[in-house]
């Protein structure tokens, strides 16, 4: 086999050095017709088979081989780096709003910088810097928020004036600019050559690379990958990595058991020009003009400029191979508006001669974030695709995370926002994808303000009460395809339309939500919470209890009818899920988890529960409508409807009972509210939903009942210092770090997942601490509102970031929740965070570059909240999700 590596290597090097490969404009036809026999036959088996020889596949191969895995085969249907990778613009940009994306881009940049030295393959790496322009004040705010994030990462960046922009790039028309962000270390690369360099290094490390080999499908047996069928024979393997880019969806569906990878390609155009009279310097910074929807980089003395138009052209990959995708037509009329924007930004380019309009398809995903991770249905089936046109920026980091995932079982960072399991089959409809990507592609450049929502692919999953609530003024948002109410617009009040309500400041619904919160505190509100994931776990014997005791940190061996809040932890004690579990009987449990846990939690249970036909797990999410009755009068409403005493003596907090409400029988009533306020959640078999809702609303009238939405819930839970999974809690956060030690029963008499890690933390202390901040000198009406991801400064030094925030109508202040770390002043090493450390600091929260004083608290304001009905109520209900 060693000889083959050499041959392959020389092949790659030959092509890397060949001028044709360095020129992006060179049509693929030239290289692919160079008939070349397949060098060697495929191996019969390998540990890992990677499908796709673009930047993702080669990066995964590179990182796997770096981590010591050698038995790896990479298959490419055409030629290496000849798909989207070949045609992409080669811009490495770190100015990303999301932390994990920013980290991936930062890592990629560092990796590419040294790649040429490492492999000897020219990558064209050039540190040019980048300038992102703002034409509006709102855009500048979003850039300032990014600058705050970059700064705390140690990535140099600067908010600059239009004048400075002109100094950095003489061609830019600055008349309509209000400012810009300059990131001096952003770079340009030849993306195809980066990919070839990664392939070369991987090959040197033992990875076998086979070009012109198509994967027809992946074979899966008993929920595990067993092999790969290709047009050149079968390879047995343990792991399969789908890095097929725009073909990933199709490939995922090619097997008997489909793996849903929700992405859809769109045509993407960029322009190449001949050099200017005085050729542009190759060190000239890349320009991004999001308000004009374009990017512009220097390219061989001329420019390369593309963008994200408002009317994208989705593209079906079915039945089309690499070559056909490469021969997509130029569409000048489609590119017209972007050309307008280009010439408006750089009027001096009018006389520049066109070389080519490149049509380079890009894959987009339903939420604009890439897709990585293991399939929920097939173990060993990994995916890395759907880069939303940032493949080069993410390539290095994403490949590293996925390699870590395969080798270590989980990456070194929280990648839940990118996890394939955030999607279900429902996002896999071609129609949904086609509609959604048409919204996503323009969104690449649209201004994203707090709480923006997707507008396409909506009204898919709804509660049976949808129409009733909608008729009463409900405004909707979507989570995991489920429509949820944000708030109710009272009749007669006029809210701004969608476009005008976009703001970084106080939103127009402020008073509406305020009155809903007030009603929750003083009377009673009803919130439809049907979207939450609901499982039932039961067994013939004690299997259910025993298994769950192992999977959950709290003690579930409680009397029947009790509800337990508990984390579902991993080995490291981190939250895989955060749930409420009701013991329905000795042998059956009802488990409520966040909405977007539907796939992840199911997979986790399936992978960790023993294979036992007597142990049954059922997803009953769709069976129940959940109504949350919040407020001091909830007890009155419910007792009138059920003719049963609902007082604390008869129905204590954290209790679950099946009872009748109105005419409907078998309503599962739980005394939890997800907010810390008194009240109940009613789990109603869906056919009774309308009846029960009507009864509750009629009976509630005399108690002042009204509808409320999630924004009210959110304000309530944040002022109560409730963390929720997916926002505040993730797989890298333990109960010890967020003040939930009381939900961990280290001595419950049996082993459970994460127990050891938690023991250690209990002994040695924690390295971060969930903290509540009350903004002191923040003017709600005039100042920018916090969102999440704002840096936290302690005594002027960066200590962490916020994870969520809300306005507390009770405190009349903004409350931010976030994690405080303790970095050693000299070494930067993470130290144990003690209560004293938290309490003895002066804190500031940085909102888009402006710092606000904040008071840190480790415990909620108990005095503010009345009606404590059980001694441990507040503590025990320290559970929240959104």
């Amino acid at each position: 086999a060693a000889r083959m590596f050499l041959r392959l290597l020389s092949d790659i090097q030959w092509r890397a050095a060949h001028p044709k490969w360095r020129r992006m404009t060179n049509s693929q036809r030239g290289t692919s017709t160079t008939a070349e026999p397949h060098p060697v036959s495929l191996p019969a088996q390998a540990q890992v088979v990677i499908c796709g020889g673009g930047i993702m596949g080669t990066s995964v191969a590179y990182h796997l081989s770096k981590m010591g895995w050698k038995d790896i085969v990479l298959l490419e249907q055409g030629r290496l780096a000849a798909g989207t990778t070949r045609f992409c613009a080669g811009i490495v940009s770190t100015a990303r709003p999301m932390s994990v994306e920013l980290k991936m881009a930062h890592y990629s940049n560092k990796l590419y910088q040294q790649l040429e030295q490492e492999t000897g393959v020219q990558t064209g790496y050039m540190k040019t810097g980048s300038i992102s322009l703002a034409q509006t004040q709102d855009r500048l705010i979003s850039l300032k928020r990014i600058a705050s994030s970059l700064n705390v990462m140690g990535i140099p960046c600067e908010i600059i004036s239009p004048k400075k922009v002109l100094q950095l790039h003489p061609l830019i028309n600055i008349h309509d600019l209000v400012g810009a962000i300059y990131v001096p270390e952003d770079a340009l690369v030849s993306s195809a050559n980066v990919s070839l360099a990664l392939a070369t290094a991987a090959s040197q490390n033992g990875v076998q690379i086979h070009e012109r080999t198509s994967v027809s499908h992946v074979t899966i047996q008993k929920g595990r990958v067993t092999g790969v069928e290709t047009d050149r024979g079968r390879i047995q393997c343990e792991y399969f990595v789908n890095c097929a880019g725009q073909w990933a969806y199709e490939l995922g569906h090619s097997g008997e058991e489909p793996v849903h990878i929700p992405l859809h390609a769109c045509e993407h155009f960029y322009l190449l020009t001949h050099p200017l009279k005085e050729p542009l310097s190759s060190s000239l910074p890349t320009v991004v003009d999001p308000d004009g929807r374009i990017y512009i980089r220097n390219w061989q003395g001329g420019i390369l400029s593309g963008g994200f138009e408002k009317n994208p052209k989705p593209l079906f990959t079915e039945g089309r191979n690499q070559l056909e995708i490469q021969n997509l037509q130029e569409d000048w009329d489609h590119f017209g508006p972007l050309l307008d924007a280009l010439l408006r930004r750089m009027p001096g380019l009018e006389a520049l001669q066109i070389m080519q309009l490149v049509n380079c398809p890009e894959s987009f995903t339903p939420d604009m974030r890439c897709i990585m991770g293991e399939s929920p249905t097939a173990r060993g089936y990994f995916v890395l695709a759907g880069m939303n046109s940032a493949g080069i920026s993410y390539g290095g980091g994403a490949g590293k995370y996925l390699a870590e995932w395969i080798v270590n079982g989980y990456p070194s960072e929280n990648v839940w926002p990118l996890d394939l399991k955030r999607f279900g089959t429902l996002q896999s409809s071609r129609t949904f994808l086609r509609h959604r990507v048409m919204e996503v592609m323009p969104l690449m450049c649209d201004l994203k303000v707090p709480r923006w929502d997707f507008q396409t692919g909506r009204q898919l999953r709804t509660s049976p009460l949808y129409d009733r609530l909608d008729a009463q003024g409900a405004r909707w948002m979507e989570k995991h395809g489920f429509e949820r109410v944000k708030y109710f617009v009272p009749p007669g009040s006029d809210l701004l339309d969608l476009d005008h309500s976009k703001t970084f400041y106080k939103p127009d619904w402020f008073d509406i939500v305020g009155s809903e919160v007030k009603c929750c505190k003083e009377a009673v509100c009803v919130i439809d919470m049907s979207s939450f994931t609901k499982f039932e776990i039961s067994s013939t014997g004690d299997q259910a209890l025993e298994s769950l005791q192992y999977l959950f940190s709290n003690d579930l061996d409680v009397p029947v009818g009790h509800v337990v809040h508990t984390g579902m932890l991993n080995e490291k004690g981190g939250y895989e899920n955060d749930c409420s579990i009701a013991r329905l009987s000795k042998r059956s449990f009802f488990m409520i988890s966040p909405t977007d846990q539907q796939v992840h939690c199911w997979t986790w249970l399936k992978n960790h529960l023993p294979v036992d036909s007597n142990l049954v797990v059922e997803d009953v999410t769709w069976k129940y409508t959940a109504l949350n009755l919040i407020g001091p009068r909830a007890v009155d409403v419910l007792s009138e409807l059920s003719y049963a005493p609902m007082t604390a003596e008869h129905f204590p907090s954290l209790f679950c009972k099946e009872m009748s409400v109105g005419y409907a029988n078998g309503i599962r009533v739980m005394s939890i509210t997800h907010t810390g306020e008194p009240g109940f959640v009613l789990y109603i078999p869906i056919e009774y939903a309308l009846h029960v809702y009507n009864e509750v609303m009629n009976m509630g009238q005399k108690y002042g009942i009204r509808n409320a939405g999630y924004y009210a819930l959110r304000s309530l839970r944040i002022e109560k210092f409730f963390a929720f999974w997916g926002q505040d809690l993730d797989a890298f956060t333990t109960p010890m770090e967020c003040g939930r030690e009381f939900q961990v029963k280290l001595d419950k008499g049996m082993q459970f997942l994460g127990q050891e890690a938690l023991w250690e933390q209990k002994q040695n202390g924690v390295y971060k601490r969930f903290t509540m901040f009350i903004l002191e000198d923040h003017d709600t009406d005039m100042d920018l509102w916090p969102w999440w991801g704002e840096p936290i400064y302690r005594n002027g030094r960066y200590v962490g970031k916020t994870t969520s925030s809300a306005y507390s109508y009770t405190l009349e202040r903004h409350v931010c929740l976030g994690f405080v770390h303790h970095f050693d002043e000299k070494t930067g090493e993470e130290l144990v965070v003690t209560t004293d450390f938290i309490n003895q600091g002066e804190y500031e929260i940085d909102i888009a570059g402006q710092r606000f004083q904040a008071k840190a608290k480790l415990y909620p304001f108990s005095s503010l909240f009345t009606q404590r009905r059980r001694k441990d109520e507040v503590e025990l209900s320290g559970y929240q999700r959104e």
Partner: protein, 454 residues
């Protein structure tokens, strides 16, 4: 100096006319949905004419474009009279008798034609009596000739053309006591006109063509694209058969002088035409008529001028070439237009532009830069024009207007260039004819459902 888009539009739309065939019981039983027509002058006054009428005593619809030369008198006369000659030629014997009896006894006449006219399409009141008498003489002869056979459309068209031309010639020879009319008939005879006439009756489409106007059928292919089918042959020097015909009709000695510089006797572009007695009468007859004619005629150098090598008249005929076409569902429209259109546009482009206009679907040819040297600025301008072109489709409510907009305003990329359009339309009268010819267009839209049901 530029015309604003709205000024351009007011010029382009000044002569537009649309006719929709009325529906009965919510159904249109005619194979014709309707037609759009328009004309844009280059000469002042314009020498083109157009006519459209529905035959009332027989079935069918008549549409025609007439391109005059050496003045507009002949084209005007033909546009007024030809359809009556055709309609009469098509009438059955009984109807002719009925009409003749009505005239004889002073009763109201059965209406023969329903005209579809733009307000600018005038009929000369003064000559109506004269024209009517000639027409009556024609139908009286038809009554006398009664062959008992059903009328063949082809023959009727040929007879009508020839008869009208003959009448024009005779009227000029006989003259009229009214000096205005006398001068008029002479002007008609000494000027000329080509004619391209369509007769549509159900799926039977007949095109009778004399001269170099043209009829073109727009066909929609299965893939939705548009192609053009010619339904007439140009009678000019480019048509070999036509050159052959002329040569056959004259002695070999004249072979070289017959067609010079692509013109008949080195003078006339069309090889067939109405009027133009200078190419039809003997020299003696011409001289006699001119001498006895009014002074205006005598003063006109052109009329006095005898063509060189004029040995064996007539050199010119008004006899049309008739093409019959059975309409198919894919035949979506017919374009009749004078040579002013065909000089500037290829029939394939005409088919596409009208087809896309009528269906509202725009198969714009994609732009490919290929190996051309194009700057960003040029491309920007081009794309802006193409966008304007799409919006210009919605500006026009008339297919003929849309076609004229393209014919006059198209740049090398096939896009309407407002600047160019503005320039072409604002040319002073004396220059206009140098850059463009009169353009007259009729676009007839067919009813595929009716045609498919035949």
């Amino acid at each position: 100096f530029y015309l604003t888009p709205s000024q351009v539009n007011s010029i382009l739309k000044a002569n537009e006319y649309s006719f929709k065939v009325p529906e009965f019981d919510g159904k249109n039983v005619s194979s014709v949905l309707g037609f759009d027509s328009n004309q844009l002058p280059a000469n002042a006054p314009i020498e083109d004419r157009r006519s459209a009428a529905t035959c009332l005593q027989t079935r069918g619809m008549l549409l025609g474009v007439f391109d005059g030369h050496a003045g507009c008198a002949c084209a005007q006369a033909v546009s007024e009279r030809l359809f009556y000659y055709i309609a009469v030629s098509l009438l059955p014997h009984e109807t002719l008798l009925e009409i003749e009896n009505a005239v004889e006894s002073g009763r109201a006449l059965l209406p023969i034609l329903q005209w579809h006219k733009h307000p600018n399409d005038y009929f000369s009141k003064e000559a109506s009596k004269l024209y009517f008498n000639s027409l009556r003489t024609y139908w009286q002869e038809l009554i006398d000739l009664n062959s008992g056979e059903t009328t063949d459309v082809r023959e009727a068209l040929i007879n009508a053309f020839k008869r009208l031309d003959n009448d024009i010639s005779l009227e000029a020879q006989v003259g009229d006591p009214n000096s205005f009319l006398n001068y008029l008939v002479l002007r008609v005879a000494f000027s000329g006109a080509t004619a391209c006439v369509a007769h549509v009756d159900g799926v039977d489409l007949h095109i009778a063509n004399t001269g170099d106007s043209r009829a073109m059928l727009g066909v929609q292919e299965e893939d939705g694209s548009w192609s053009a089918v010619n339904l007439s042959y140009d009678h000019n020097a480019q048509n070999e058969h036509e050159v052959e015909r002329v040569k056959m009709e004259h002695p070999k000695s004249e072979e070289k002088s017959l067609v010079k510089q692509d013109r008949l006797l080195g003078l006339l572009m069309p090889f067939r035409a109405f009027g133009d007695v200078k190419f039809k009468w003997s020299i003696e007859l011409q001289k006699r008529v001119i001498e006895s004619g009014p002074d205006q005629l005598n003063d006109n150098e052109y009329t006095k001028f005898i063509p060189p090598n004029y040995h064996t008249p007539p050199y010119l005929t008004a006899e049309p070439e008739v093409i019959h076409h059975k309409l198919r569902p894919q035949d979506k429209f017919l374009v009749l237009a004078t040579d002013g259109l065909w000089e500037t546009m290829h029939r394939q482009d005409v088919a596409r532009i009208v087809g896309e206009y009528l269906t509202g679907v725009h198969h714009q040819q994609p732009i490919a830069v290929g190996g051309y040297k194009v700057t960003l600025g040029q491309m920007h301008g081009l794309l802006t024009e193409r966008r304007a072109r799409i919006s210009s489709v919605f500006e026009d409510q008339n297919a003929a207007t849309h076609l004229i907009r393209h014919a006059v305003g198209n740049n090398e990329f096939g896009t309407v260039d407002h600047e160019r359009l503005s320039k072409m339309l604002s040319l002073p009268e004396e220059l206009a004819r140098m850059y463009r010819d009169d353009i007259t267009i009729i676009v007839v839209q067919f009813n595929s459902h009716v045609i498919g049901a035949y």
